[in-house]
C-alpha cells in the first residue's frame, strides 16, 4: 500500500536558515505514512502560493492521498505529529486539522482564527474552549492558518487562486464548514511558527493583505450567521462580534486625527483591559501624543523597552530611561521581563 499522505512545503530558497530548520525538523519525525514534497521556487517574483497549493491539492486528489501543507518557517519537534493530526481529525470527524502555533519562546501565537462580523479576523491564543466540544485534546475552530494544515478528502476542496497571498487557508476552512464538514485543532500538538519569514520581505504584503481580506469578506461574510449557528462554533460568536485589540488599536490610530477624544477613550480602554504589552505600550505612546503627558512615555518604556521612539523622546526630554532594549528591533523578549518579574511577587502576595 502506498503512503497515504503528502507533506508539502514551499520555500523561495530551501537553503535559507528557516527553511533548513523546518525541513530538518520534519525529516527528524515519523514519516512512515508520508512523502515529503518540497518546492523551491528560486525566489520567483511571480510566485503565487495559492496556485501552488491548489496544484498540490489536485495532485493529492488524483493520487488518492491526503495533504499536509507546511510553511517553511515552522519547526516540528513532536516525533508523532502526523499521527496526532490524524487522531484529532478522527476524534473531531474533521476534514481540516491544525494545531497550536507558538513562537520560538514557546508562547502561543495562535490556535485557530475567528472570522469577525466586522470583516476582520482574530487569532485565538488565550481562548478557553467550551469543554463540551473538546474531544481527546482536540476541538473545533472556525478557521486555521495553513502554516500547518491537514486536508483530508482533498477532492472536496479547492484553494482559490484569486487570493494573492493571504486568506486562502481561511477560505478552505470556510469551504469545509459550508459543506457541513468540520475544522479543528489538536490542542496538545504544538509547533513553532515564526511567521512572516517571507511576507515581511515582500513590499506588497500589506496591500495583498488588504485586497485578499476584501476578497475573503465578499465571499464569506454572508455565511457567518450560519457558521456561528453551528453548535461547535457558538462559543466563538462573542469574539466574532467584538473587535480584537489589534483592531481597536488600529481604529484608534485612524481616529486620532478625526476624533481625538474617541481615540483617547479607546487607548485608555486598551491600557485598562488588554494584557498585550505591545498594544498597551503603543497606547501610552499615542496618549502622550494626544495629551502631552510625559508619564505616558515613561509607562510606554516600562512596558515595552523595544519602543525606540518612546526611548528617544524620553532621552531628548532629559528623563532617565528605566528599561533599555539594545537589540534595535522589536525583540519581543523584553515583553516578558516585567511579567516574569511580576510573577514571584504575586505568588508571595
Amino acid at each position: 500500500m502506498r503512503k497515504d499522505t503528502i507533506v508539502f512545503m514551499c520555500s523561495p530558497d530551501i537553503r535559507r536558515m528557516n527553511a533548513r530548520r523546518a525541513i530538518g525538523s520534519v525529516k527528524a519525525t515519523d514519516l512512515s505514512r508520508a512523502e515529503l514534497y518540497l518546492i523551491d521556487n528560486g525566489n520567483d517574483t511571480q510566485f503565487n502560493h495559492s496556485a501552488v497549493m491548489n496544484d498540490m491539492l489536485r495532485h493529492a486528489e488524483r493520487t488518492g492521498r491526503n495533504l499536509v501543507i507546511l510553511d517553511d518557517d515552522v519547526e516540528i519537534h513532536e516525533y508523532d505529529w502526523l499521527n496526532r493530526l490524524y487522531s484529532a481529525a478522527d476524534d473531531l470527524d474533521a476534514d481540516i486539522v491544525g494545531c497550536v502555533h507558538t513562537d520560538d519562546g514557546g508562547d502561543v501565537n495562535h490556535m485557530g482564527i475567528v472570522v469577525g462580523r466586522d470583516g476582520l479576523t482574530e487569532s485565538l491564543f488565550d481562548f478557553r474552549h467550551d469543554p463540551r466540544w473538546v474531544r481527546n485534546h482536540a476541538t473545533y475552530v472556525p478557521t486555521l492558518c495553513s502554516a500547518i494544515m491537514l486536508i483530508r478528502e482533498p477532492g472536496r476542496y479547492a484553494i482559490d487562486v484569486s487570493y494573492k497571498k493571504y486568506f486562502q487557508d481561511l477560505d478552505v476552512c470556510m469551504q469545509a464548514w459550508s459543506q457541513d464538514r468540520r475544522v479543528g485543532i489538536a490542542l496538545d500538538l504544538r509547533l513553532i511558527h515564526i511567521g512572516g519569514a517571507t511576507g515581511n520581505r515582500n513590499p506588497h504584503a500589506a496591500r495583498f493583505l488588504g485586497e485578499d481580506l476584501h476578497r475573503f469578506n465578499i465571499r464569506w461574510q454572508p455565511h457567518l450567521d450560519r457558521l456561528y449557528a453551528r453548535p461547535e462554533l457558538r462559543q466563538y460568536d462573542t469574539i466574532a462580534r467584538s473587535a480584537g485589540w489589534i483592531h481597536e488599536f488600529m481604529r484608534a490610530a485612524r481616529l486620532r486625527y478625526v476624533d481625538p477624544s474617541a481615540a483617547r477613550a479607546i487607548y485608555e480602554r486598551i491600557i485598562a483591559e488588554s494584557h498585550a504589552p505591545e498594544y498597551v505600550a503603543g497606547s501610552h505612546f499615542h496618549l502622550h501624543g494626544l495629551t502631552g503627558d510625559i508619564n505616558h512615555l515613561v509607562r510606554c518604556n516600562e512596558v515595552n523597552p523595544c519602543h525606540q521612539a518612546a526611548r528617544t523622546q524620553l532621552e531628548s526630554a532629559g528623563v532617565a530611561v528605566s528599561r533599555r532594549c539594545m537589540n534595535g528591533i522589536d525583540c519581543r523578549s523584553c515583553y516578558f521581563g516585567p511579567q516574569a518579574a511580576a510573577k514571584p511577587a504575586s505568588r508571595t502576595a
Partner: protein, 327 residues
Amino acid sequence: MKEVVIALCTPDLNRPMARRAIEAVRATDLRRAELMILDNAYDAHFHHPTVMQEMLVYASGRPVIFMDDDAVVRQTDWIDRLFDTATLAQAAVVGCVHTAPSGEINHTGMLVYSDGTTTQARESARSGQPFIYAPSVSSAVVLVMNDRGLEFDRQYEKYHHDTDIGIAAWHQGQKVACALGLEVMHVQADYASRVSDVAALFARDLERFRAKWGGYITSGLYARSELASWKPLAEAPNWDGVYNEASRAKSTDPSAAREQFASLIERCPNAWHRAGAHYHLYTLDGRREHLEKCVAENPRHLKAAELLRELDERACPERSRGATVDA
C-alpha cells in the same frame, strides 16, 4: 509560476548523495525553473514510473526535468543547454552526457538492439552539431517536453520506463537527443547495489519492453533518418547480452557456454568482452592460454594476472620467488 519543473526523487534528502545533488542544482541558474524535491522517506512501495508520470500531470503541460539523486550538475546554465538542444534538435526528450566521478563518459544515450535488449552507448557527434540523436536517454537527467502527449508507462517495475518514453517519442514521430555540451556526474547503480533482486527486476522489465516495442524496433525505429548511424550498432549482437547469457549458462550447460564464449571471442569488437570470455573459458577448462589471452586483451584484468602469477609459482617456485625479489 516558472516555466519548468525540476523533479528530483530521493528516498532521503538528508543522505549525502542527495544533499550533494540538491546543493549542486541549487547553485545553478534556476531563474526559469522551480525545484521540486520528492522525498519518499524510504517508501517500500515507491514506484518511480508512477511518480514520474504523476509529475508530468502535475506540471500541467510545463516541461519537466527529471533528476536522480545521484546525478550532480556542475554547469550553471545546464537548463538552458537542455532547452537549446530541444530547440536545435526539435526533440521532445533530451538527455545529456553522463560521466563517472573520475570524469570518464558513462554514456550519451541508450542503444536498443534489434532483439530488444538495451545498453548504454557512448556515441559522439559526427556532424559537428552540439547534440546527437539517440534511440533513448537515461532518466537520471532528462528533459521531457510535456506538451507532446508523452507518458511514462507504469507497467515497468523499476527499469526501462525511461528507455520506453524515448522509443514512444520516436514512435509518435518525435525525436530524442543528447545535449553533448552538458555533462553530469552520475554515480550509477547505487540503487542496484542495495537491492538483492535487481537482476530479476531488470529481466522482467526488459521482457515487458521487448514485448511492447519488439515490432517497432525491427520495423520502424531505425528507419528514422536521424538514427541511421545507430542502425549497424543495433543490428550487431548485444555483446552485453551474449556475455551475460554465456556466463549464466556456465552452471547449467557448460558446453553451450564454451561455444558462446568462443563465438564472442571470434566476433565481438570489444576487447573488454573478449578478455572476459577468455577468463570464463579458463574457469571452464583450466587452460593457461586463456588467462594469457585475457591479460593480453585487457591488461587491467587483475584476477587473471593474479592467477597467472600463482600458476607460475606452482610451476617454478624458486624462479618465481627470485623474480619477485628481483622485481
